[in-house]
C-alpha cells in the first residue's frame, strides 16, 4: 500500500468526496489504508511540537467530531451538543473503573453502551425538532449535563472532575506509554472510519441524502424519516462516546466542562475547519486547530482566539473546509472538472460499480416485461394479494374526507373511488382542493374527518411512509428528485426507500434494483439520462423520472399531480401511452390535470372539484367528451382555465371515443 503513492493520493481525494458526491466503495479501503499510514507516520515526521501526546489528542478529538460530521454532512442535522456523548463516555469510564473497579474493557463497553442508550433516549425527544431547534436543544442538553455533573460532587467530583489512571489494561497488554496511547487512538479512529463507511454505504447513503435533500419526498417514498434520523443520531453518538472513553483515561482527568457547551461548539468547529461531509474532516480539523494551538499557546490565553479565528476564516472563505479547498485546488491543477459540476465522467453509482452501459444485455432481456407493475414483485414489495373483505371495494376508496387549514375548508366531504385497472381524473380550477386531496390520500396531511381505504383496509391513521409501503405512490406538481444523485440512483431509491429498515442492506438486492431501474429507463427511452445528475435535467425529463420512480415499487394506487404540465405534445402522447399501460397492468390511477384532451384520452371516470367539493362526476366521455360538455363543465369559470384546457386543440391526438 505504500508503493504507489500517486494512486494513494488519488484514492484519498476520491474517497474523501463530500456527502454530495457518490462515494466509491472501491476507494474506501484505499482511503482507509492511506489514512492509517498517514496517522502512523505523522508523529515521526518531526513537525515542531507535534508530539505523540498531541497526536493522540488530535486523533481522538477528530474521532469525536466525526460523529457530528456524519449527522451534518449526510443528513443535514447540526448538533451543537456533541460533547454530551464525549462527556458521557468519559464519565462512565471514570466511574466504572475508579469507583467500582471494573476492568478497562468492560468499562469501555459500558461507556459506549451507556452513551448510545442516552442518545436513544434524548434522540426520541430531539430528532423530531426542526433545524435550529435541534441544534440548540442539543447545546442546551450539553449545558444541562455539564451542570448536572457539577450538581452531584459526591459522585462526579464536582467541578474538579474525576482523575483516572493513565494506564489502560487491555487484557492482552498494558498501555501507558505515549506511543501505546497513540496506537490505541489510531485503532479507535480506524474503527470509527469503518463504522462511518458502513453507515453511508450504498442504500443507507442514498436514503440519508434523500432525507437531507427533501424530507417530505423521503416520507412519501416510504422512508420512516423519524426512525432513520433517530438511528443516525444514535450511531453518531458512538464516535464521541468511543473518543471520550479513551480521551479521558489518556489525559488522566475528566471534568464537567468536557461535556459542556464550549466543548460541543469546539467539536463543531473541527468539522467546519476540516470539511463537513468529508470522512476525514474531523481529523484534519483537529490536526490544524490543535497543532496551531500547540505552536502558539505556550504562554497566554490564545487557544480560544485561535479556535475562533481559524473557525471563522474557514467558514467564510472555504465553505467546504480545508479538505474541500485542497480538493478544489487539486482538481483545478489536474484540470479535471470541479466536483460540484460532476458530469458523466464522474458518474459512478453510489455502490462503486460503474453503471452498466445503456442498452446492454440485461436491458434487452428485460424488454419483454410489460411496462410497469409486471412480474417482479419479488423482494421488498409488500404482498397485496387478496382483499380484506369480499364485500369491500378494491382499489382506493375515499369516504367523506374533509380538511381545513385555519378557517379555510380546503376539502369538504369528498368521496371518490379509484378501482384497480382504471384511470380516474380529478379536474377543477386552481385552488379547488385537488392537491390537498392528494395530500390527504398520500398521508402528508391528516384529514379532519373521513376515511381513506386501500383494498378495504383503513389507512386514515397511517403516516405517509406506511401508506407508501402499502402501495400508494405519488408524484408532485413540481418533481422532487435528489438533485445531487444520478437518475439511476434516484430510481433505485424509489424502490429501496420503501423496503425494510434503513439499516438493512443487501448488495444483491441493490444490483437488482439497479438493473430494474435501467430496464425501466430503457422502456421509457430515457436510458441516456441514467448517469446524469437529477439537478441537470429539464422539467419534462424530471417529470418522467419522478413518474418512473413512483412506479418502480409497483404501487397499487398511483396519484399523479399534474403529470402533463410542462410537457411537450410529444411527451404528453408518450406519457399517455405509459399511463394506459400502467392501467392495463392493473393499477388504480388518479390523475390531476388541466388538459382536457389528455384527460379525455386517458380517463375512465372524471370527478370535477370546486371550492373543496366534488361538484360533478361521471364517465369521461360524458363530462369531457364533447365541446359542449366541456363548456358546461367550465361555465362560470374564467377564461384562463378554459384556455388552459385546450392548449393544442388536440385533434391530432386524443381520438374522441
Amino acid at each position: 500500500m505504500s508503493g504507489d503513492s500517486s494512486r494513494g493520493i488519488a484514492a484519498l481525494l476520491r474517497g474523501a468526496r463530500p456527502a454530495g458526491q457518490a462515494t466509491g466503495t472501491a476507494a474506501g479501503p484505499a482511503l482507509l489504508a492511506v489514512a492509517v499510514v498517514v496517522l502512523l507516520v505523522l508523529p515521526g515526521l518531526g513537525l515542531p511540537r507535534l508530539t505523540l501526546n498531541l497526536g493522540a489528542s488530535i486523533v481522538l478529538f477528530g474521532l469525536a467530531a466525526t460523529g457530528l460530521n456524519l449527522m451534518l454532512g449526510y443528513v443535514g442535522m447540526l448538533s451543537l451538543g456533541g460533547a454530551l456523548y464525549l462527556g458521557a463516555g468519559g464519565y462512565i469510564v471514570a466511574l466504572t473503573t475508579q469507583t467500582w473497579g471494573w476492568p478497562v474493557l468492560g468499562a469501555l463497553f459500558a461507556a459506549i453502551a451507556g452513551s448510545l442508550l442516552l442518545a436513544l433516549l434524548l434522540g426520541v425527544i430531539l430528532v423530531g425538532l426542526s433545524g435550529h431547534y435541534f441544534a440548540v436543544a442539543n447545546l442546551g442538553l450539553a449545558t444541562a449535563l455539564d451542570a448536572l455533573l457539577v450538581a452531584f460532587p459526591q459522585v462526579t467530583g464536582g467541578t474538579s472532575g474525576l482523575t483516572m489512571s493513565r494506564t489502560l489494561d487491555l487484557g492482552v497488554g498494558t498501555v501507558s506509554s505515549d506511543l501505546g496511547w497513540y496506537l490505541v487512538a489510531v485503532v479507535a479512529a480506524v474503527i470509527g472510519l469503518l463504522v462511518f463507511r458502513w453507515t453511508v454505504a450504498g442504500k443507507r447513503g442514498r436514503i440519508l441524502r434523500l432525507v437531507r435533500a427533501d424530507e417530505l419526498a423521503a416520507n412519501v417514498l416510504g422512508v420512516r424519516t423519524f426512525r432513520t434520523k433517530l438511528l443516525v443520531y444514535v450511531i453518531a453518538a458512538f464516535f464521541p462516546a468511543l473518543a471520550g472513553a479513551l480521551l479521558f483515561p489518556f489525559s488522566g482527568l475528566v471534568t464537567p466542562d468536557d461535556a459542556g457547551a464550549v466543548q460541543s461548539v469546539q467539536l463543531v468547529a473541527l468539522i467546519v475547519v476540516g470539511g463537513v461531509g468529508y470522512r476525514l474532516g474531523g481529523f484534519i480539523g483537529a490536526l490544524v486547530i490543535l497543532w496551531l494551538q500547540a505552536l502558539v499557546d505556550t504562554s497566554g490565553n490564545w487557544s480560544l482566539l485561535i479556535y475562533a479565528a481559524v473557525f471563522l476564516l474557514v467558514a467564510f472563505y472555504a465553505p467546504a473546509g480545508i479538505i474541500g479547498a485542497i480538493r478544489g485546488g487539486w482538481t483545478r491543477l489536474v484540470g479535471a472538472r470541479a466536483p460540484s459540476a460532476a458530469g458523466p465522467a464522474a458518474v459512478q453509482s453510489a455502490d462503486g460499480h460503474e453503471a452498466p452501459a445503456r442498452g446492454g444485455a440485461f436491458t434487452d432481456g428485460a424488454e419483454g416485461d410489460t411496462v410497469l407493475g409486471s412480474g417482479d414483485q419479488a423482494d421488498g414489495a409488500p404482498s397485496r394479494t387478496g382483499l380484506a373483505d369480499a364485500g369491500e371495494q378494491a382499489g382506493l376508496v375515499v369516504r367523506g374526507v374533509s380538511k381545513s387549514f385555519g378557517g379555510v375548508a380546503a376539502v369538504r366531504d369528498v368521496s371518490l373511488v379509484v378501482p384497480p385497472g382504471t384511470i380516474v381524473a380529478l379536474i377543477g380550477s386552481n385552488g379547488a382542493g385537488k392537491s390537498t386531496l392528494v395530500n390527504l390520500i398520500s398521508g402528508i396531511d391528516r384529514p379532519d374527518t373521513g376515511t381513506v381505504l386501500l383494498d378495504g383496509r383503513d389507512l386514515t391513521g397511517l403516516r405517509a411512509p406506511e401508506r407508501t409501503r402499502m402501495g400508494i405512490a405519488r408524484t408532485f406538481q413540481v418533481p422532487r428528485l435528489v438533485d445531487e444523485l444520478t437518475i439511476i440512483d434516484n430510481l433505485v431509491l424509489g424502490e429501496e426507500a420503501a423496503e425494510g429498515s434503513f439499516l438493512r442492506r443487501s448488495r444483491a438486492r441493490e444490483a437488482r434494483h439497479r438493473q430494474r431501474a435501467q430496464a425501466r429507463l430503457a422502456e421509457g427511452a430515457l436510458s441516456e439520462l441514467a448517469g446524469r445528475r437529477a439537478g441537470a435535467l429539464g422539467t419534462g425529463e424530471r417529470k418522467f423520472v419522478e413518474l418512473v420512480r413512483a412506479l418502480t415499487a409497483n404501487p397499487v394506487v398511483c396519484l399523479l399531480d399534474e403529470p402533463a404540465v410542462g410537457l411537450s405534445l410529444d411527451e404528453i402522447a408518450h406519457l399517455s401511452d405509459w399511463l394506459l399501460a400502467l392501467r392495463d397492468s392493473g393499477a388504480a390511477v388518479l390523475v390531476i390535470d388541466h388538459n382536457l384532451d389528455f384527460i379525455h384520452r386517458l380517463a375512465d371516470m372524471v370527478y370535477v372539484m370546486d371550492l373543496g367539493q366534488i361538484i360533478r362526476q361521471g364517465p369521461a366521455d360524458e363530462l369531457v367528451g364533447t365541446r359542449d360538455a366541456r363548456a358546461s363543465l367550465l361555465s362560470g369559470r374564467d377564461g384562463a382555465d378554459a384556455g388552459n384546457a385546450n392548449p393544442g386543440k388536440g385533434s391530432h391526438h386524443g381520438q374522441p371515443g
Binding site: 451534518l72 443535514g76 447540526l78 451543537l80 425527544i125 430531539l126 423530531g128 425538532l129 426542526s130 433545524g131 435550529h132 431547534y133 441544534a135 440548540v136 436543544a137 447545546l139 442546551g140 442538553l141 449545558t143 444541562a144 449535563l145 451542570a147 448536572l148 450538581a151 427533501d214 424530507e215 417530505l216 416520507n219 412519501v220 424519516t225 423519524f226 457547551a261 464550549v262 461548539v265 463543531v268 468547529a269 467546519v272 497566554g300 490565553n301 480560544l304 482566539l305 479556535y307 475562533a308 479565528a309 473557525f311 471563522l312 467558514a315 467564510f316 465553505p319 392537491s435 392528494v438 395530500n439 398521508g443 402528508i444 396531511d445 391528516r446 405517509a464 408532485f476 406538481q477 399531480d561
Partner: protein
Amino acid sequence: MALFLQTIFSSLVNGSVFALIGVGIVLCYRSSGIVNLAQGETFMIAGILTAKMVAWGVPLGFAGLAGVAAATLASVLFERVVLRTRLNWAPERLIIVTVGVAFLAEGVADRLVGADQYGFGNVLNGSPVIVGGAAISQQGVLLVAVTVVIGAGLVWFFRRTLLGQAMTASAENPQASSLLGVNVGLMRQISFGLAGLLGGISAFLVVPSSTVTFNSGLPLTLSGFAVAAFANMTHPGRALVGGIALALGEGFVGSYLNPTLETPLAFGVLLVAGVAYLARAERFAGARRA
C-alpha cells in the same frame, strides 16, 4: 414566606435578563431568519467595557452609556459586516457563523482582559425595598421595570406603528416587502441594533449584582434562546413572559431543592415543554407543503 417572596424577587431580576436577551434573539430572528447565538456577547461587551471604564475613573453614567453604545454598535456591525452578504447561506451554516463570532468575541475578550471577574456599582444605591421580609434592591426594581416597559413598548411598536409593521412585514416576506417599498436591510439593521441595545442595558443593570467574565455570553445566549423558542422566535411579549417563567422555575428549584440543580432541571423542563409545543405545530409528514 420570606423565602418564597425572596425567590420571586430574585427570579424577577434574573428573568429580566433572560427576557432581554431572548427578546434580542427574537428581534434578530424576525428580521433575518437567523438564530443569533452571538446575542449574549453584547451583554459581555457592555459589561466588561463599562467595568473597565469605571476602573479607569470614568463616571458610571458615562461608562454605562459607552458600554451600551458599544454593544449596540457591535450588533449592528455584526449584521452589516458578517451577515448581510451571507443571508442566502443555508441556515445551519449561518448558525455556525454566529457561533464562530461568539467564540471570536470571547477569544478576543480573553486575550484583552483575561479570565477575571469584572463588576461595577449600582446606579441606584438607596436601601433595598423590603416586602414581607424579602428584599429587592432598587436597582433590581429598576431592571424589572425597564424590562417590562421595553417588552410592552415592543409589543406596542410592532402592533401600532408603521415602522413596527414594516419590520413585521419584512420579517414575514422580505421579497414582497421590498417590492412594496420597505427597506428590508434597514429594518434588519434596526432590529440588530435594538437587540444589541437590550443586551447592553441588561448588562448595565445586572452586572453590579452578578459580575461578568469573558465567557458570560454563551450561557446567557442559551437561556435567551430557550426563551425565544418558547416565543416561537417571533413574539417579544411572549419572550418576556417566558424569561420570567424560566427564572421562576430556576429560582424555586434553587431555593427549595438544590441550587446546583437549577440549570439542568430548568433546561430539562423547558426542553420537554418546547418539544411538546413544537410537536403540535408539526405537520403529519413533518415537512413543508407538497
